[in-house]
């Protein structure tokens, strides 16, 4: 009988299906940003403003798991190579990779040559290799193996849920769409539980509603879609659920869209893992993320296919850690698995056929680096010529469920399996006074991006008022490109540069941003991009956010951050420069300068330093600290009267600290 081998995509499809995710109202607590009209400064729609709160972060001791499934059967033997085993070279023939080409990680094992980043992590002790992972009596069809790996259950019955889906089933907090995320349009069995499942998110922003920063005409269509659910339909529960689904889909997109960000990496796996890192950074409470990536099914012409997959895997891992915020380093675990390995012996098509046992990788700072399990003998094979597993794959799941995710593996898997010990528990992250570290991180990033735009457009640093204006616009949904477009059309820009042709504009970018004349190729390229319809803002952002310019402006960004009203408040109140942590704390607090000043006036440092001051004493202090002289009688009385009628001490101090005299005296930026 003839039967065409499935592609791996088809196999994955066979164990994937979308199921309802957000049956109940999406809790408002998940909003990070409001939607805005394209003009910038936001007016929150009433229904949004009422409920916008900080997202619920992952707890300080909670671990996050990113599971990378290499679909089709990765060849573990050519990934972590047994370079001193003669049988490997004998059986693999031309497919074998020799020690001189590979990256040695122990006396007997070496990594595939394309796994440079993985090797670096290995040397840091951040990689565990688990050998011989499989299950006894494995059916070699893709369909059954994939389902079985994903189900992870003790029994042999039908596979209707996956081990991580069952983990999500038991998480507290109701049916939260962010407990688990699967990157891709349908949810693999892996992430389907018995009554809940992960959310499916596409790997590109154009797969979701683009709600932020769109043309107002589209914005109004989304609003209309949301408005369909404003009133009860009067037609029963299903009609109401449908009417409400528009709002939920817009809400979810609004939360998720900013996370996609600009400039994602190329390449399937790198893009997906970059998105995973962004999602983790956004700190919306995601515990498990799933990425499927392939195709590893190298029946024929293995070297080219496998080399490419290994390069992609390595680049993906690098992209992930480049994006992951440092606060999550000790709370994130990467697991790279495949549903079965491949045979030892090469086949006649210069490939290998489906095997039974494979090696998998665990990566992270909490991983106890080293080798686990046992590499099966390459000579004592089973009747089909396959490696005999030494580690039950469910032990891997149990190790992760119990030690990392703090769940009950015996209940989720339906059996008891060994703890392999390859990962320590997650380490709590350091947060600044319980502040959501990612919102803090993103505000500093937003500031840096604006500062760079000013430097690139105007050759100067922004004054704090301008900076604050644009940061606020960004926080409420304006995209960086839109800010750039606004600046490119501003009076200052036009006054400075006249009305430029596209070509002149590109020349200007090279001069301002990269500090050099444009090369002919670059000049032609970017000019044609603009001629082709790209906006100047978009091109500008490409330059101002380039690695080169980011590096070149680090000290400028620092100067702006350590200048400005907050820095002056430190000098005025405490006669000292702000420490970095405190400065960042206040800059990202979202408080007005007046409120910050009030906080300083009421702070324990102030109390310890100055004791209890009367209003008159306070005025004297202000004059002395800020102007370096005693108060004149008239001025003194004026401010005492002001405070008597209700002006706060914070306001008084701020008026002084923001005076031109003090700005000049302190040499800080206005």
């Amino acid at each position: 009988m003839s039967r065409t081998d499935p592609t791996t995509a088809e196999v994955v499809a066979s164990v994937s299906a979308p199921l309802p995710t957000d049956r109940r109202s999406l809790s408002r607590r998940h909003f990070l940003q409001a939607m805005t009209a394209a003009t910038g400064v936001a007016v929150l729609p009433g229904w949004l403003a009422d409920a916008a709160e900080a997202a619920t972060p992952v707890g300080p001791g909670d671990g996050v798991l990113v599971l990378i499934t290499m679909t089709g059967g990765n060849d573990g033997l050519n990934t972590i190579i047994p370079v001193d085993d003669g049988a490997y070279f004998d059986r693999r023939g031309p497919l074998a990779i020799g020690a001189s080409a590979a990256l040695a990680i122990s006396e007997t094992r070496a990594l595939h040559p394309n796994l440079g980043e993985l090797e670096r992590l290995w040397r840091q002790g951040d990689v565990a290799v688990v050998d011989g992972v499989g299950a006894p009596g494995t059916d070699l069809s893709h369909f059954s193996s994939m389902a079985r790996w994903m189900a992870g259950s003790a029994g042999t019955g039908g596979h209707h849920s996956g081990w991580l889906g069952r983990y999500i089933d038991d998480l507290p907090g109701g049916d939260d769409p962010f407990h688990g995320v699967s990157i891709g349009s349908s949810i693999p069995l892996l992430m389907q539980g018995r009554h809940r499942q992960a959310s499916g998110l596409p790997d590109e922003a154009n797969g979701i509603f683009q709600v932020a920063g769109v043309d107002p005409t589209y914005r109004r269509q989304y609003d209309a879609l949301v408005a369909l659910g404003d009133a009860a339909t009067g037609r029963g529960e299903l009609a109401d659920a449908l009417a409400d689904s528009g709002r939920r889909a817009v809400d979810l997109a609004a939360t998720i869209e900013p996370i996609y960000g600009e400039d994602p990496p190329d390449g399937g796996l790198s893009r997906k893992l970059d998105l995973c890192a962004r999602l983790i950074n956004a700190n919306v409470g995601i515990r498990v993320l799933s990425v499927m990536y392939g195709d590893f099914d190298s029946h024929a012409d293995q070297p080219e296919m496998h080399d490419a997959r290994m390069a992609e895997l390595d680049e993906g891992i690098r992209a992930f850690y480049a994006r992951l915020h440092s606060t999550f380093g000790a709370r994130t675990l990467l697991l790279a698995v495949s549903e079965f390995g491949r045979r030892v012996k090469a086949n006649r098509s210069n490939g290998t056929d489906h095997g039974a046992a494979g090696s998998l990788l665990a990566i992270g700072t909490q991983v106890r680096g080293g080798f686990y399990g046992d590499l099966p003998s390459l000579t004592a094979l089973d009747r089909q010529g396959n490696l005999i597993p030494t580690v039950d794959y469910r032990s891997v799941y149990a190790t992760v469920l119990d030690g990392w995710l703090r769940a009950d593996s015996s209940q989720i898997l339906g059996g008891t399996y060994e703890d392999l010990g390859f990962v320590a528990p997650p380490a709590p992250s350091r947060t600044t006074s319980g502040r959501n570290p990612t919102i803090a991180g993103s505000t500093m990033l937003l500031r840096a991006q604006i500062i760079r735009l000013y430097k690139a457009f105007f050759g100067r640093l922004p004054e704090s008022q301008g900076l604050d204006h644009w940061v606020q616009a960004r926080r409420t949904g304006m995209s960086l490109v839109q800010v750039a477009e606004a600046l490119a059309g501003s009076a200052e820009f036009i006054n400075r540069y006249g009305h430029l042709t596209n070509r002149q504009f590109v020349e200007l970018l090279y001069a301002n941003v990269l500090g050099r004349a444009a090369d002919a190729g670059g000049l032609d390229h970017w000019t044609s991009v603009l001629d082709g319809g790209a906006t100047r803002g978009r091109v500008m952002v490409g330059f101002s956010e380039s690695n080169e310019f980011v590096a070149a402006t680090t000290s400028d960004v620092d100067r702006v951050d350590t200048g400005g009203p907050v820095a002056r408040l430190y000098l005025a109140y405490f006669l000292r420069a702000a420490e970095t942590e405190g400065l960042h704390y206040w800059l990202t607090s979202g408080l007005s300068y007046r409120a910050i000043s009030d906080a300083f006036a009421a702070s324990s440092e102030f109390q310890q330093r100055y004791g209890n001051l009367s209003d008159a004493d306070f005025v004297d202090l202000v004059y002395q600290n800020v102007l370096g002289r005693p108060a004149d009688a008239g001025g003194r009385q004026y401010w005492i009267d002001e405070m008597a009628r209700g002006v706060t001490r914070g306001q008084v101090m701020l008026s002084f600290s923001e005076s031109a005299e003090f700005v000049t005296r302190t040499g800080t930026l206005p």
Binding site: P6, T217, A241
Partner: protein, 410 residues
Amino acid sequence: MPADIDALTVYDWPDLVEQVLDTSAATPPSVGVPNLDEGRGFYRNFVDMTWFWLDRCRTTHAPLVEKMVLFWHGHLCTSMAKVFNRQWVFDQNQLFRTHGLGNYEELVQRVSVGPAMLAYLDNDRNVAGSPNENFARELMELFTLGVGHYTETDVTESARAWTGHILNDAGAYTFTPEAHDWDDKMFFGDTRNWDGPMIIDHIINGPKKNTVARFIASKLWSFLAYPDPEPGVIDTVAAAFSSSDMDIRQLIRAILLHPQFRSDRAKNGLIRSPIEYVVAAMRISGLPCDVAHPEWTLRPMGQQPFYPPNVSGWKQNHYWVNSSALWAKSKFAGNIRWRLYERDELADSSSKPAAQAVDDALALFGIVNPTASTRNALIDYVENERRNTSWAERAGLLLLPLLSPEFQLA
């Protein structure tokens, strides 16, 4: 189309039902059959099969035929994720078309020995001495009786009866005597030399006939009216099915004529499955598959044709309601919208009062009885567009009805 609906209102309900049941105007199954040469590639074959089916759904004068193809596809399941031979899967789809309204036993017999089913439920590996129970179990659990109406012994013995019904090397069904278990088997307590097809006959026409009737009636009622029907309702329609000797058309007649079919619960109790949704949109807009491209978005909507997620098919109602499905629906609807826009539909909308413009838009999409909430939301939208002197009013009116609750309900 409004005109179509008006034309039908002259008939009373029983007459309408008879018109629906009269499928003699159905397009012959041989029309437009796709070229499924494997050399064209798996994805091309999949697209061609999908277009064949959905364009039929869109243009047929006997929609009931294609509706039942969809029903049987989700009941007597086979998925191309496991059965890679597109011709086999397509042949099964055609079987649903040619036999989906006739005798239920005959349908099950034919589907059971089709290569697609033999491969999907592993009966092609079911040989004497090494029986495979997969098909025998699902035959009873999912296709005819439901859980609890048979024993494990019935499953094992049925599996033995089905041995030898396999595929030959050319991929065609062949009963292979030397692979068949010729010993006596005990099925439903009755011992004889059972063979596979006899089993089907006995299940459907034998002592458990009424159980089968209720099982199928309940599932078909759920598909046409609303899920979890009341037992009393099923009593009536199952009896009609049974007494007609399991004639599917008679069952449908009983369902459509039942007073509960016209209840409020029925009117608001069913959400269109994605395939039904795209077909409705293509039918109302007249756009064919090679313009509307339903195959791009049906999978993220949750229902990719020829790929039921597992042997029990797709679920209903809330199963279809989630954000990623709506994102996909919007992409599909957005494409339809632009095609209608280019065609100048609703051309004079902006010269009419807002309420009139909205009513015209709703009528265009066949929404003859909109909810106040939808109508008001759309009127607000139009008024807002006009305040903003926007060009986009027509574009919005050609999209939003497709995403309304009314259009998504069956």
